[in-house]
Symmetry: C2
Subunit: 347 residues, 2 copies
């Protein structure tokens, strides 16, 4: 079953529903828990989804598969479910997990598609770990260069499944998500895969600064590379088990590329640099994102605190500089001043 019904949740349900129908090893029916809303027409969102087979509000025009059943009752939706796909906005996961305690099958397996864990001084709070600890079940992750609308249109795309120990479980998730236009690769590195999904937003902010400064292609490629490199080193700092190869996967280099050439972190950072840093991120976010906050700005502040606490800021000049620009301590043009700090992770 799928917990969440935004655009990415609906696409996830579509992918899974295609496979449960075609593979004998899975039950046909895919339940999708929907946070109930009443549409302007007066109809309930779940009724509209079940009537039209489309998520008319968050993914209109895309048939999800007749075996997708929207359900507004979370307890009812998870009952008997043995494979749980978590794909809600990250701020809801706390309450959802708490309300699910004791109601999930003890042999159930979970996978998190949620981007946006917190990085605290005492260590990062991975969403997969949180789900796992709250519900007492194993939790894998799926991340990658996955703009939901493009996958909904069945344009070729791919993702990475990060798993902890059990390769067979990983293969089941791969089977459940793979379609002719969606390729999934398993990697035994749940921490590396999940952290990529959050840290890429920091790199996207740096890329947005470069765009706003009209620095050109060489500069942008260099900044993206520094970012990917610092992502890798930061992950290895937090979890020594993280593998270099993870950063060559979809969750690594591919997702960094899509996020640095599209995406709202890049966009708002570009506007910030074009204004010479004179309008704050808070102000630009309010104007450009209708009240949503940029994940990258929050993440880089948390990352900065961790690095400062450990005395490692000078090893991460890109992350440090991004935070210092976001917080107004440095001008946006500081993003390309590396002449004094060039020994980044000497090989």
């Amino acid at each position: 079953m799928v917990i969440g019904s935004g655009s990415w949740g609906s696409v996830a349900a579509k992918l899974v529903a295609f496979n449960t129908l075609n593979l004998s090893s899975f039950h046909d029916e895919v339940k999708m828990w929907v946070f109930e809303e009443t549409l302007q027409s007066g109809e309930k969102l779940t009724d509209a989804i079940n009537r039209t087979n489309e998520n008319v509000k968050y993914l209109p025009g895309i048939k999800l598969g007749k075996n997708v059943i929207a359900d507004p009752d979370l307890d009812n939706a998870v009952e008997d479910a043995n494979m749980l796909v978590f794909v809600t906005p990250h701020q809801f996961i706390d309450n959802i997990c708490k309300s699910l305690v004791g109601k999930v099958r003890s042999d159930a397996e979970a996978i998190s598609l949620i981007k946006g864990m917190e990085v605290k001084i005492e260590g990062p709070c991975l969403i997969s770990t949180y789900i796992s600890e709250q519900l007492g079940i194993n939790c894998s992750v799926l991340m990658g260069a996955n703009l939901a609308n493009e996958i909904a249109e069945e344009k070729f795309s791919e993702a990475t499944v990060g798993y902890r120990n059990n390769r067979e479980i990983a293969e089941q998730w791969v089977q459940l998500f793979t379609t002719p236009y969606f390729m999934v690769t398993p990697v035994q590195d749940v921490e590396g895969v999940e952290l990529c999904g959050t840290l890429k937003n920091v790199v996207a902010i740096a890329a947005g600064f470069v765009d706003g400064l009209d620095m050109g292609n060489n500069t942008k490629a260099a900044i993206i590379r520094f970012g990917l490199r610092e992502m890798r080193e930061f992950c290895k700092l937090l979890f020594s088990s993280v593998k270099d190869d993870t950063f060559f996967e979809s969750c690594g280099v591919a997702d960094v590329i899509t996020t640095c050439f599209g995406g709202r972190n890049r966009k708002v950072a570009e506007a910030f640099a074009r204004n010479g840093g004179k309008r704050s991120f808070d102000e630009l976010e309010a104007e450009m994102l209708q009240g949503q906050k940029l994940q990258g700005v929050t993440t880089v502040r948390e990352v900065y605190e961790v690095l400062r606490h450990r005395g490692l800021l000078e090893l991460f000049p890109l992350f440090a500089t991004v935070h210092e620009i976001c917080s107004g301590c440095l001008p946006p043009s500081a993003i390309v001043i590396y002449s004094e700090k060039k020994n980044i992770f000497p090989v």
Copy 2:
């Protein structure tokens, strides 16, 4: 001294001249060998460069540094030179090396900035190896995300020096090229660094097909990632000494990004796909490139022959597919058909 005076050669002379003037360990004067031409005004190109301190034909508007001396006489230019920078079009290197045999100091060091080695069945013919063997001197390489015009304008950029054994020599090249806006990282992997500079053009053709098919960001990021991965595996196949980390350097991921978002290989491949493969690359090249040939099309044909000869085509689905599309055996849309070939280098 610098052998070559196109836009990249002129920028290289500018970078080097900045450092020879400022560092006491180098002679001030930088000789630049120029293939002599007569300008429309009737003035010789070398005279114009020495009079104006600009390469008025290939990099107008950029001061090279007063210590750059253009010289049309190759023998005279290399006399007494102890550091030789090769930066000519690759089709000229053959004749240049032959004419230099016996005229170069035996303790001289060379570096090649030339992209475009040939990949033959019996192994790749690296330009650095060719220079080294012809002249009996050591040869390093410098590659990276280096659009010449942007570096000429002093926009921040970086590059990778690939060296064979001697770290001290590598450090000398790093010193000679590094400026506040140009960062250089040494890597002990001359083959990996040099091969990146050629193979990236194959990936750029694949990226161009995706653009021409309007497949979107996810698809393009996935294709770039497959390409980077196949570059790495192909390099390791040819030279077991090649290091994974090289592909995280400027010559790897950064140069692939710039080439896949700009550059003529991408551009012509996009046009090819937009025409549904109905107009050949020969025809499009003639129309779009004023008689120049795309390196990527030639390289991928050579790569394909090597892989076929070794029976390894199925391990390189992207490279194989790019060649089969270029040669008209498959339609451009085949670039995203991976459902049957998903086990690329299982970890």
